[in-house]
């Protein structure tokens, strides 16, 4: 039960981060397979069935642009961040930094409170 609960929360936490990671990685043009490998190398594992639908969704929202091109005698679909995507990514990263700072503040405060309580009991 505890494992399931943790897994659900972990997936929920990662879901939003994956979108930011994909947008950030596509500041330089890539096709699906290389994008997935790059994300994986940075510890953002993403299964095949999740990445492609996500890319399509982001493209339909205007955040990505794509183009079919031939490389190594095979046709591949290359994705890159659109202008609108660039702007949204900037705002998301600012939001991310703000959240990170807030969370750190909360954690510091609660850690400090806990240390004080332990000293008082001692």
């Amino acid at each position: 039960m505890g494992v399931d609960q943790f897994e659900n929360l972990r997936l929920e936490l990662r879901r939003g981060c994956l979108v930011v990671a994909v947008l950030a990685a596509l500041r330089t043009e890539k096709y699906g397979y290389t994008l997935r490998k790059e994300l994986s190398e940075h510890g953002m594992e993403m299964d095949e069935g999740t990445l492609y639908p996500l890319l399509r969704r982001l493209e339909s929202q205007g955040l990505l642009e794509s183009e079919w091109r031939e490389e190594d005698r095979r046709k591949k679909r290359f994705y890159r961040l659109s202008e609108q995507g660039e702007e949204i990514l900037g705002r998301l990263l600012a939001e991310w930094k703000g959240l990170d700072k807030s969370l750190e503040g909360i954690l510091e405060e609660t850690n400090h409170g806990a240390t004080e309580s332990i000293s008082a009991v001692g």
Binding site: G32, Y33, E48, G49, Y52, R56, W68, K75, R77
Partner: protein
């Protein structure tokens, strides 16, 4: 690349129509890239098992197809019962089920109303009963499929099907046929229960005889067995190669039941003497003619299945050294 092509063929009909070709091209490219990389790593062409392993990582076609559809929600009661990947197909199955039930209910009631034996509230009650029973059956089946997908996310095995005679037919068409068979049986089940199991079916005007009720267990048993077999075909492709034997067995059970019923008429005895004429007409035109038509149809189906089986065994015999 035969396995890859088969995998793509299975995924294709499950994708949104307008983006189908584009998604398939991209999916194919991704899988080929993964296979190429593995080939470079091992320094030789991949075996069928290795290719199958890579395809397994992409997930069962039903799940892959569902991921490309817009999210329509999930079914959850505290815990998620049917996830977003297969939810669109669940909704579609419910719609087919609802349409099928409504059509059957309306046709049956329209026929019965010819003798003025049913009211509008009977129609609504029957419809509500059918929809709720069939809806529950469909929900249970999809919940089961979802639990299988969760337990074995990478267990999509195409090699078993490839080595089996069933492979001659398109895997998708066989699976689709099994799904349709399952849904039709699920739609028929409550009807058969009512037709063969309920004592008074015609609002007090006539009562079906004990001989008619004797057909309840053979008919219900054959229908449930067909549903289980269809479900097994959906889950394990290789089971489809026994479908002709199963169909023949079902036809023979139904044929024996139909002949037994035909010989045991009249099937409806009069309760209300004022309705004697109607009951006679029902015995003659609904029961007798209906049973004659069913017997002929089932016999023809049995002969067809037997012919196909003989043809297949003849062909297999010629291929053996």
């Amino acid at each position: 690349m035969e396995l890859l092509n088969r995998y793509l063929r299975s995924v294709k009909p499950l994708l949104p129509r307008e983006e189908r070709e584009d998604i398939l091209a991209e999916l194919s490219e991704e899988i080929r890239s993964a296979m190429d990389e593995r080939e470079r790593a091992v320094g030789r062409p991949l075996t069928e098992a290795e290719q199958n392993e890579i395809l397994g990582q992409f997930g069962p076609p039903l799940v892959v197809g569902g991921r490309y559809r817009p999210s329509e929600g999930t079914l959850s009661f505290g815990k998620e019962i049917i996830g977003r990947e297969i939810f669109p197909f669940y909704v579609r199955a419910l719609k087919i089920q609802l349409g099928l039930s409504s059509a059957v209910v309306c046709v049956v009631f329209a026929t019965m109303s010819f003798w003025q034996l049913v009211g509008f509230d009977d129609l609504l009650r029957a419809l509500a009963l059918q929809v709720s029973i069939q809806g529950s059956v469909v929900t249970l089946c999809f919940a089961y499929v979802q639990s299988l997908v969760r337990r074995n996310p990478g267990q999509w095995d195409l090699t078993q099907a490839a080595n089996h005679p069933a492979h001659k037919d398109s895997s998708w068409s066989l699976r689709f046929e099994a799904i349709v068979q399952f849904l039709v049986c699920a739609a028929l089940l409550p009807w058969l229960h009512t037709a063969f199991g309920v004592a008074n079916v015609l609002s007090g005007a006539g009562v079906v005889t004990a001989a008619w009720h004797n057909a309840y267990w053979p008919v219900m048993g054959a229908t449930v067995a067909t549903m289980l077999f269809s479900l097994a075909r959906v889950l394990r492709q290789e089971v489809s190669s026994y479908r002709r034997q199963a169909n023949l067995a079902l036809d023979l059970v139904m044929l024996a039941t139909s002949i037994y019923l035909l010989l045991s008429g009249p099937w409806l005895t009069v309760v209300n003497p004022a309705k004697q004429q109607e009951i006679r007409a029902i015995n003659e035109y609904v029961f007798r003619d209906g049973l004659i038509a069913s017997t002929i149809t089932i016999a023809a189906a049995a002969v067809y299945e037997a012919f196909k089986l003989l043809k297949r065994s003849d062909k297999a015999g010629k291929l053996e050294p």
